[in-house]
Symmetry: D2
Subunit: 141 residues, 4 copies
């Protein structure tokens, strides 16, 4: 299975008054890691949009929180595909402490293939065959 | 069933390059609406923390996206309790277009009662009886 | 002088570990209030973009911080024009406590008129005469 | 002069509907780079707070914008001290394209030394002598 790994450091502005990560920040990071995952398998979403009027929008997202993230903690976000259907691809993200590997968050993004040629009217479409091949290869064996 | 309703307007900075809401913003709004819901039933989380060292942290969150949100659209976020267990309370949020009532997002936050007297070591606890009563009343009949 | 006033409540997610507003949030709010100010004088930036390929981008922004903002505090953001040049318009924003009127933040946004017909190459232009008239009227007398 | 350098990649969620960085994101990054700068000279703000009830809050911030930031562009943020007074230290940040070195943003943060032992009543104080020495060394020669 192909995995893409991103390391980052939790910053002051990511924290809430308890001194732990304000949870929407986790979603900002996994969204970014989704884009980086796609790029790592050869699908740059920015190019897909510009060249073919295709984007992968969100159908569903979720997170389960196991441990809080804290000031200047180093974390490691690992992304992989764990589902591929006609119109959707599902990403799984785990966020762990870089040092010690403790699990902070398990997350899921279900992304749906969109024809965005008319921005006022985004339309779900089947994932084109060539893109599906790249995604399938991205699942690995 | 008690519901708390918040109206807001989608702003430029909430949007992504497709001109639709960047999904972590929805989580920022429902987190805020969770706090406002608690306040509407007489539980101000800021006071709970200061007076009793109790907070409701997040165990799990999720969103399903039905329609995109767009520039200067007015939306209505409705929050209610749809689950109450020993240590957790679950909030349901729906985000609809104010005009026309079309559904944009359905969201869930599962919040867990925490003893935060030692900020370095947050500890899940049973929801104290008096707070449980307020939450139960907040479910309504 | 025309002023546009927006009331909002400071939320949990706006706060840093000290329990005070994380300062980039102030910029998010004044950006939003800039858009609302323009709308209040009859210039909806979203329409300007769609209809005429014009946007007001940022040349410069600044904030001075006088008092921190805190949990569930009600604030009032007042926006007005305090400068108009060939290519730029300058907005002044003040953020005050709604109750008691204490000053929290004074902010400035210098916005520059852009031709965005080629998104890869945004180009500063003179503010078109009719828009300048609307802005001038928005300064008031 | 001591400089601290941080590289980052502009992500989808940092962008506005024009496909360029929404400007409050720049402030989030320079705030983070301020903390990393302090850490690079041996002042970890998190420790200062915990051990000595001291923080460096914001008195003033500003940015000038020269070029927009775009999707998956690599940028380099360089931070240094460019002012030190009794109670305040001023940081200068420049944001440049990593490839080609073009200037995107010039930013300033004026930070004021705070006694935060009473969180309800933050109090500006003179920068303690030992911390001033570290900052002075951080200016370099």
């Amino acid at each position: 299975m192909h995995r893409n790994i991103v390391e980052r450091k939790i910053m002051w502005g990511d924290l809430d008054p308890l001194g732990i990560v304000f949870y929407p920040r986790f979603y900002e990071w996994i969204d970014a890691c989704g884009h980086l995952f796609f790029e790592s398998i050869g699908l740059t979403l920015g190019d897909l949009w510009r060249d073919r009027n295709i984007m992968f929008g969100l159908a569903e997202t979720s997170c389960r929180y196991f441990r809080p993230g804290r000031y200047h903690q180093e974390i490691r976000i690992t992304t992989s595909i764990n589902g591929l259907e006609e119109k959707t691809v599902q990403l799984k993200h785990t966020i762990r402490e870089s040092k010690g590997d403790a699990l902070l968050v398990e997350a899921m993004e279900k992304r749906i293939c969109l024809d965005v040629s008319d921005q006022e009217n985004l339309r779900a479409i089947e994932i084109p065959r060539d893109i599906r091949e790249v995604l399938r290869a991205g699942i690995g064996t």
